[in-house]
């Protein structure tokens, strides 16, 4: 994965466009030739609906001259016949203009530049493996059977397993000879003339639109374009405007807004609503944790993401005990999927609830949303899910019986072992590298629980008019904070244990998790300085940012997923925490490091980069990951802007208290929306970060 110019959505040499949870990944010619493990194709509802789509003219493949990313949902490929590297027949041009809706639409045009008329055989080869996204990711085999139906100017590719049926219908506007493997057109083109056909690829889902006369009425992506394009413009116009002497920062800001627009997710199960999906291409779905963190990051810029996230997750909140789905009443979901493996319960994502942080974070987001927007109507409407979430913390998450949130999957076959944001198998360890048993109570979960109770109390008092409930929550929060600072604190090392194990013993590795504790406010004032000293010290701070795990720990690996890499999302919340405890200059150092790293990726931060020392590598080494853009990395620069400018709602006012690194120069963030209407924030870089950094070494 690498970043490219002009904001093309490119994975290696692949081009992808998307709308909602439908996306197309092709090569630079516009062709799709997917193998079972290859990530190209047309994907919709977590299923690959087209795995072969190859254009030839007179039996020849084509060569790309250029690929224009017109919008995130639309691409134009300029091609010429022939695959030779030297000679290119310039007498013909081929243009494929493709846009995604529910399926995709392609307008194929051939231009004859010659003085003589020409007869061409134009052929599109088609095929489909109907792979579930889980199968593509994990290279699993299919269990059903395939069928193909050939009609006039139309071919239908289908896949059936018992009652499960998915099909892809391909229709051409020009007369075509159709066989089971594709469509052939005889195109006669006059001198300096052109030939065009429309190709519609429509996804058919059994039990939903299969029996309709004309499922294309929803899939006519061409008709949808004007509104999509306008949507993007409006989206960018409505966000605050950033003026800065720092060109790279402006580029990063704009990139973040455009990518967040692309990551907005909507499906037929929630029409006209957009919430942030987790990442492209594999995570175009509802994720509890990622949607909440991204909504928090984006709140000062576009609060509607938070509103839709709160509504959608609230509506899908757990309501019963279901061990297969790790569901409990009040629990906020982890991930929702619509593919074959979910349908046959080979995966529990219908939806899956195995996530220990999204539930308290739901309450945190609801309160933060109210502080910015003053939208009491929504906060009242969501009183029930918020109370159910608060109830889940004490009623269902107290697995160790000691009053802390802990997790242990009940679905031992396909459930998730680590239900915190560091969800890889080896992320939580003792200093010597051994892994604790389950249930595990990681420290940041207790911070989130504390914050949820404090914020829940505020909402109970000010919006729900239930002072008794507020008192109760405040008492519980104070008690939790007291116990936490006793049970998790490592007095000799002066930081918090990353977790308590099944026996209530401290899991003692030094990790970035302690930074989230600052954000949640559970850290005793007297202990904050020590925590900050560790975060900004050489074992955790790489110069680009704070590592997930400190150098010197048993499992530390600078390119280990959660055991040494630097995550922009993680750092943005730690910077917020540093500000909350008054460490403005340290927050500016973290912000500067991450924003500098963004410049190496044309403003699109990867999910994570290596924990190597900045002075050694000079550039951030990207962690090889399947998704770009990734929602919470996209949101990181937004949250960092907020922390640098010191934006904090206070009643009907917005407090602005800038603390910018000197290297940033001047910043103006104009028209920041909120309950105050719109206000502007100005700041000038005054923090000499080099001094602070050298002091830390």
């Amino acid at each position: 994965m690498r970043a490219t110019q002009k904001g093309e959505r490119v994975t290696g040499d692949l081009v992808q466009i998307l709308e909602g949870n439908t996306f197309v990944v092709s090569d630079r010619r516009g062709d799709i030739e997917a193998s079972s493990t290859d990530p190209t194709g047309l994907f919709s509802f977590d299923t690959r609906c087209l795995s072969r789509w190859v254009l030839t003219v007179n039996g020849q493949r084509l060569t790309p001259l250029s690929t224009d990313d017109l919008q995130y949902f639309e691409t134009r490929f300029f091609l010429v016949p022939g695959t030779g590297t030297v000679y290119v027949d310039a007498k013909l041009s081929v243009i494929r203009e493709r846009s995604v809706g529910e399926g995709f639409h392609e307008e194929l045009t051939i231009l004859n530049h010659d003085d003589a008329a020409i007869d061409l055989d134009v052929r599109i080869d088609v095929g489909c493996d109907f792979a579930d996204l889980f199968e593509v990711k994990d290279a699993l085999a299919k269990k059903g059977t395939y069928e193909t139906r050939v009609e006039d100017n139309q071919i239908m590719l289908g896949y059936r397993r018992d009652t499960f049926f998915r099909a892809t219908r391909i229709t051409a506007s020009e007369p075509a000879q159709v066989d089971e493997r594709g469509l052939t057109f005889s195109a006669k083109i006059e001198p300096h003339g052109r030939w065009t056909t429309d190709l519609d690829v429509v996804v058919v889902i059994a039990g939903y639109n299969e029996s309709r006369d004309d499922p294309t009425h929803e899939s006519d992506s061409k008709k949808r374009h004007p509104s999509l394009a306008k949507g993007l413009d409006r989206w960018i116009d409505h966000a605050p405007q950033l003026e800065s002497t720092d060109d790279a920062l402006r580029q990063t800001y704009r990139r973040s807004l455009v990518d967040l627009a692309a990551l907005r997710f909507s499906t037929r199960t929630m029409p006209n609503r957009y919430l942030p999906a987790a990442g492209l291409p594999w995570f175009m779905t509802i994720f509890g944790r990622d949607s909440i963190f991204t909504s928090l990051q984006a709140l000062p810029f576009m609060s509607e993401l938070a509103a839709t996230t709160l509504l959608t997750l609230g509506e899908r909140q757990g309501s019963r005990i279901d061990d297969f789905r790790d569901e409990d009443p009040g629990r906020i979901l982890h991930e929702m999927r619509f593919g074959e493996m979910t349908a046959f319960e080979e995966r529990p994502h219908s939806p899956y609830y195995g996530c220990a942080d999204a539930t308290p974070l739901y309450v945190v987001l609801l309160d933060e949303y109210e502080r910015w927007t003053g939208d009491h109507k929504l906060v009242r409407e969501l009183e029930y899910p918020a109370r159910a979430a608060l109830n889940w913390i004490d009623e269902y998450a107290n697995l160790q019986g000691n009053g802390y949130i802990a997790y242990k999957r009940r679905n031992e076959e396909t459930g998730l072992e680590n239900q915190c944001w560091k969800d890889s198998w080896d992320s939580i360890s003792y200093r010597d590298g051994t892994l604790p048993g389950f249930p595990r109570a990681t420290c940041e979960l207790q911070g989130y629980a504390y914050d949820a109770k404090v914020r829940g109390a505020r909402l109970a008092r000010t919006v729900w008019h239930d002072p008794e409930f507020a008192d109760k929550l405040e008492k519980e929060a104070a008690d939790l904070k007291r116990r936490f600072n006793r049970d998790y604190w490592l007095p000799d090392d002066e930081y918090y244990a990353v977790a308590l194990d099944a026996d209530g013993r401290q899991v003692d590795a030094l990790t970035s998790n302690i930074g989230h504790l600052l954000w949640s406010g559970i850290v005793d004032r007297s202990k904050a300085k020590s925590v900050v000293r560790h975060l900004m010290g050489p074992r955790l701070f790489s110069g680009w940012g704070i590592r997930t795990m400190a150098e010197g720990e048993g499992r530390y690996n600078p390119i280990g997923y959660h055991v040494g890499t630097v995550w922009p999302f993680d750092n943005s919340f730690i910077a917020w925490g540093l500000r909350n405890y008054g460490f403005k200059e340290e927050a500016a150092v973290v912000a500067e490091g991450i924003l500098n790293a963004a410049e190496f990726f044309e403003g699109r931060l990867p999910e994570a980069f290596g924990g190597y020392l900045r002075s050694t590598t000079k550039y951030p080494v990207q962690y090889p990951t399947a998704c770009s853009p990734q929602a919470w990395s996209t949101g990181a620069p937004l949250l960092l802007l907020r922390t640098m400018l010191g934006l904090e709602p206070a009643g009907e006012n917005l407090i602005i208290d800038p603390s910018l690194p000197a290297s940033v120069g001047r910043i103006e963030l104009l028209d920041i929306p909120g309950r105050w209407g719109r206000v502007d924030a100005f700041g000038r870089g005054r923090v000499d970060t080099t001094k602070l950094k050298s002091r830390r070494r």
């Binding site: 018992d162 009652t163 499960f164 049926f165 889902i205 059994a206 039990g207 939903y208 299969e210 029996s211 499906t267 037929r268 199960t269 929630m270 029409p271 609503r273 509504l311 609230g314 509506e315 899908r316 909140q317 309501s319 019963r320 005990i321 279901d322 061990d323 297969f324 789905r325 569901e327 619509f338 593919g339 074959e340 979910t342 349908a343 046959f344 319960e345 219908s350 939806p351 409407e381 969501l382 009183e383 029930y384 899910p385 159910a388």
Partner: protein
């Protein structure tokens, strides 16, 4: 809004029990954010037992009298009995094509919270 309307006496079995109980449940705050009517068709050979559930921001009413609907779900009786008793997960069944759905799927996704979870070890079989 009245909490319940009368169900046709002919309807018996798990589906009828489920909808009749639902009509008596009064306010359901967990459905507080949505409004709309869902039509359920329970197919038994050539017979179709039809139920309408109207949600109004947490108020629920159930009826067998014809009315306009915003979403519909259609399933065989044996399957629906499984759903109503928690033995069959309705979302997975929808994805398998066993429950035919139309209209506002968002409404159905919210409604499905009302179906019970699977019976657990120690539970008495319903």
């Amino acid at each position: 809004m009245p909490a319940t309307e009368t169900a046709a006496p002919a309807a018996t079995g798990a589906a009828a029990r489920f909808f009749t109980e639902l009509g008596r449940s009064g306010r359901l705050p967990q459905l507080g954010t949505v409004s709309g009517t869902i039509r359920f068709d329970i197919v038994d050979g050539s017979d179709v037992e039809r139920w309408y559930v109207t949600l109004a921001k947490g108020d629920v009413s159930v009826s067998q009298n014809d009315r306009e609907s915003d979403a519909s779900a259609r399933a065989e009786r044996a399957l629906f009995d499984g759903i109503a008793s928690g033995r069959v997960n309705v979302v997975a069944a929808m994805l398998r094509g066993l429950v035919e759905v139309d209209g506002d799927l968002g409404l159905l996704m919210v409604f499905q919270k009302l179906f019970p979870g699977p019976p657990r070890a120690g539970d008495t079989e319903r």
